[in-house]
Amino acid sequence: MPRNKCVWLGLVLLASLAHADDPPPSQKKKLTLQDLLKASSPTSSHSATVAGVRGLDETSAGIDTKARNFGAIDRLDKNVVSPAELRKFMEEGKLK
């Protein structure tokens, strides 16, 4: 009986080694980066929905999302408040 068991185990061992060397089955899809990302995404099943953010399903007709005026923002960036000026402003207003 023990010898029989050894033979069986040997056969199983050989089969498993042979399977490890097998090329992947033809129907097996090659894993791509995007597949990896989808698998890694914690919210993959809900990723297409934006529930909780109001109005995202509405159309945004009438808004020119491409318009830019960086000149105005450059001028706004230059309007800087120095720490000393802020301190004075806060003291004058009895702010904290």
Binding site: P2, S40, A72, I73
Partner: protein, 304 residues
């Protein structure tokens, strides 16, 4: 007590060991080799990533983690600047340096107590009679000329600005972007996969749309609650934001200049309830500054 039955049991146990143990010892190496082969077989399948560049995967993993936790301050500022430039192009900015500087002083006094004060905040006035205030990611905050003219004192302005600073500090727009999954996998990952995507343009276009449609109700109410606390911490009367909302609620519902504001914010009744609770539970009722005279002196008339 050692009984006869116990003795029999010991004998039986010894016999089992004698009969079975050599067999088990004989099988052990085979079982171990078998387990090892199965494991090897499994691992070779799991790591079969085709011709994937592992460096890109590692870079992508980092970006994915970043997308999960938000974006860097620099990226957020970059997107916010694009959105601010869009608002400036659509409405125009009030270029009166003194008035803009005053709004900046009030804003910075509030930011001074913010949980995220390291960002370079900028406060501007949009040249429109519409009543609204907006925050972009990264710290560009705007109040419309229409809303500014409807305010009575500096504490109301501070309350409005504190509400917007809270949107930035709590990264409400970044969160909305993440919920929309625009950052799923990160933009660099898309590039790593060999595609050319202008990520900032895409994200800022999305943010522009989001601002025009409004943030979630929960984010608005959180900004009301924390904004009220923030303005009070800065030394302003805690009821500033509350009074500004009450004044707007008293206006005609059909007021065209209020239409967008009403569309993008929860009903005033709901907002006032949250603010009242914040004032009560944080004992913010007494001693804050309203500064109505300074407000009137600094702003005078903002004619359109």
């Amino acid at each position: 007590m050692y009984s006869e039955w116990d003795g029999k049991r010991q004998k039986a146990k010894g016999r089992w060991q004698k009969d079975h143990l050599p067999s088990a010892i004989c099988h052990l190496p085979f079982a171990m080799i078998f387990a090892f082969c199965l494991l090897t077989c499994r691992m070779s399948s799991a790591l079969d990533l085709g011709d994937l560049d592992m460096q890109k995967v590692v870079s992508g993993g980092t970006k994915l983690a970043k997308a999960g936790g938000g974006m860097s301050d620099e990226e957020e500022i970059q997107i916010g600047r694009e959105v601010a430039a869009n608002l400036a192009a659509r409405y125009g900015l009030v270029e009166d340096g003194a008035k803009v500087h005053y709004v900046n002083l009030v804003g910075q006094a509030v930011v001074n107590h913010s949980e995220r004060k390291k960002l370079p905040y900028h406060f501007g006035i949009l040249h429109t009679a519409e009543i609204n205030a907006l925050a972009t990611p990264g710290g560009y905050i705007f109040i419309t000329q229409g809303l500014l003219e409807s305010l009575k004192d500096e504490s109301e302005l501070a309350g409005v600005l504190a509400h917007e600073v809270t949107h930035v500090a709590r990264q409400h727009i970044v969160k909305a972007i993440r919920q929309a999954n625009l950052l799923e996998g990160g933009q660099e990952l898309t590039s790593a996969a060999g595609k050319d995507v202008s990520s900032y343009a895409q994200l800022s276009d999305y943010s522009v749309n989001l601002l025009s449609k409004g943030l979630s109700r929960d984010d608005e109410l959180e900004a009301d609650k924390l904004g009220t606390i923030l303005a009070a911490k800065a030394g302003y009367d805690a009821s500033g934001l509350k009074r500004s909302i009450e004044a707007l609620a008293a206006k005609q519902k059909a007021d065209l200049f209020l239409a967008h504001f009403n569309k993008t914010h929860p009903p005033p009744k709901e907002r006032l309830k949250v603010i009242d609770k914040a004032i009560r539970s944080n004992h913010l009722g007494i001693g804050g500054q309203r500064l109505d005279k300074r407000f009137a002196q600094r702003l005078r008339i903002l004619a359109l």
